[in-house]
């Protein structure tokens, strides 16, 4: 079970859909971990003949199944940071009519969406489907440092060490949610961390 039903939230929080194959001359699919399952769900030989898959397994074992789809191009990378220069190059070379599909964790989708937006693709034209971990990419509003894969609320900023609570307020430009000091008015009074959706 890799699909998670996010509770209703505020209007800056991203909403994800379900991938569907759309008509197009070229298709770019960027995924991590369980996002592979969403690609497997829509793959057909015709679609794959025009598809470039960029995939970051993050310890999962789906890579061989994706490779077996015989996409026109397949890349398996060790991390998003390692893959991003390739993503930029592919977007730079893209022509009108490219279809972009993003699937996997919020951090992966948010960052890849940001690259696509910077290449001139409106965010509303990009398909997304959440799969796998519900951890968040968080920006500390105080030091501006980003902490990846935050699973609990509150959490400790990996840069400045402040205790931050997890807001639903989200910036597409930063591909991150906002973390704000939880004990500013009562230093040291930090509740025990819980899962974000517990």
């Amino acid at each position: 079970m890799s699909k998670f039903e996010f509770p209703p939230s505020i209007k800056s929080r991203p909403v994800y859909g379900t991938l569907e194959a759309r008509p197009g001359k070229a298709h770019l699919m960027i995924a991590d971990a369980e996002g592979a399952e969403a690609i497997l769900g829509i793959a057909t030989p015709d679609l794959m003949a025009k598809t470039h898959i960029i995939y970051i397994p993050r310890g999962t074992a789906f890579a061989d199944q994706l490779r077996a789809l015989n996409p026109a191009q397949f890349y398996e990378g060790p991390s998003y940071a390692a893959a991003v220069s390739r993503i930029r190059r592919v977007l730079q070379d893209a022509h009108m009519g490219l279809q972009v599909y993003l699937t996997g964790t919020e951090g992966l989708m948010g960052q890849a969406q940001n690259e696509a937006m910077m290449a001139g693709i409106p965010h509303t034209a990009i398909q997304t489907e959440h799969r796998g971990s519900v951890a968040r990419r968080m920006q500390c509003v105080h030091c501006k440092g980003i902490t990846e894969d935050v699973e609990t609320d509150p959490f400790v900023c990996s840069h400045c060490g402040l205790n931050l609570f997890v807001r639903d307020h989200y910036s597409r430009r930063l591909a991150a949610y906002q973390g704000v000091c939880i004990d500013a008015e009562d230093p040291g009074n930090v509740p025990a961390p819980k899962g974000i959706y517990e």
Partner: protein, 355 residues
């Protein structure tokens, strides 16, 4: 009138003070004895003589000190002023609007001399006399938006208009009520207001956006908003919340009258001519409770508003923990008499506090 500029601070020793003149013209935001969100827009075409509504960009006794505070905030954190690449033309529009308005409205303080695209700007209170080429960024020490908003009180959001929405694509934000330009830049109208409780459900933002999208050149609009701030601190930013949040816990029954401030935003909206952007100045006025209480009507009314405000709003505005102490203080200024309609203090006609 000639303005005497205060030598004062909005941090550390907090020497900020309002003169009797500033108290009398304070934009008290409550037109009745209760408060709920409303779009509450009106035309921004002047107002009573001497009021904060009279001029397009109000200049008051705090001008020089506020600009000094802004320079300190920017030195600490340059990300408080940002402009996405497509917003430079809107920055020039804003520079023109402010220079023209201030030189016309305050000819003794500001001068603008234009000879084609060669402009000379004289700002006497800040000791500035600069000549530059309009629309040529290389002739100014900062980008046009930053240049002029380092010389103008209030925060500035410059909003691009496209896809039937407004986008927060540039701004100068150093006196904000706890929101981050650096985080919100690039968001649309609904997204940057996302954390506000209750107002989405009431349809406030849908109606407000519809109104704002239709603002025309030469027909600016305005509204008031408000919150509470302990100490006259202009920079109540989320960036520095871990430093200033603790000040909220320093209120005591003895110091609350001097330390607790009503913070009012005069928000105005101007269409800009070349870019079709909308500029949204947010001008912050601070007044201590004890100064507000010198107007009997405001004393009675503030007590009733704070007492009856829904919990969600008192929480969002950040004073839920201090509300009981505020009410202990304010109740002493409410004798139960009725108040006259409207925001004005009506000091000559409202009865003094009966004891």
């Amino acid at each position: 009138m000639t303005i005497q500029f205060n030598d004062e601070t909005f941090r550390d020793d907090y020497s900020f003070r309002n003169s009797d003149w500033a108290i009398k013209r304070f934009p008290f935001p409550f037109h009745e004895d209760s408060y709920m969100y409303a779009v509450n827009m009106e035309q921004h075409r002047g107002g009573p003589e001497g009021s904060v509504y009279e001029k397009r960009f109000d200049v008051d006794e705090h001008y020089v000190a506020e600009m000094r505070d802004r320079a300190m905030v920017l030195a600490d954190d340059p990300l408080r002023c940002q402009s996405l690449p497509h917003m430079t033309l809107a920055g020039w529009d804003l520079l023109e609007l402010i220079m023209v308005s201030k030189s016309e409205d305050y000819p003794d303080l500001f001068e603008l001399h234009r000879d084609g695209d060669q402009w000379r700007w004289v700002n006497k209170p800040l000791g500035i006399d600069d000549t530059f080429t309009f629309l040529d960024e290389t002739t100014l020490p900062y980008g046009p938006m930053e240049y002029i908003t380092r010389q103008t009180q209030g925060d500035f959001c410059v909003l691009d208009q496209r896809d039937n929405n407004l986008w927060m694509d540039a701004g100068m934000v150093t006196t904000q009520a706890d929101w981050s330009l650096d985080f919100d830049i690039g968001m649309n109208f609904f997204e940057w207001h996302a954390p506000v409780p209750l107002a989405h459900e009431k349809g406030i933002f849908v109606r407000a956006l519809k109104f704002l999208l239709n603002i025309q050149q030469g027909a600016p609009a305005r509204r008031l908003n408000w919150t509470m701030t302990v100490n006259p601190l202009l920079d109540t930013s989320p960036e520095n919340y871990h430093k200033w949040g603790i000040q909220k816990t320093t209120l005591t029954p003895e110091n609350i009258g001097a330390k607790q401030h009503l913070r009012v935003e005069l928000q105005t909206f101007f269409r800009l001519p070349r870019s079709n952007a909308l500029v949204f100045p947010i001008r912050c006025y601070l007044c201590s409770f004890q100064d507000l209480m010198t107007m009997p009507k405001w004393g009675r009314r503030l007590h009733r508003v704070v007492r009856d405000l829904p919990v969600e709003l008192a929480t969002y505005k950040g004073f839920i923990d201090n509300r009981p102490m505020m009410l202990d203080y304010l109740s002493k200024f409410d004798d139960g008499l009725p108040t006259s309609p409207g925001v004005w203090p009506d000091a000559e006609t409202e009865p003094p506090l009966s004891t």
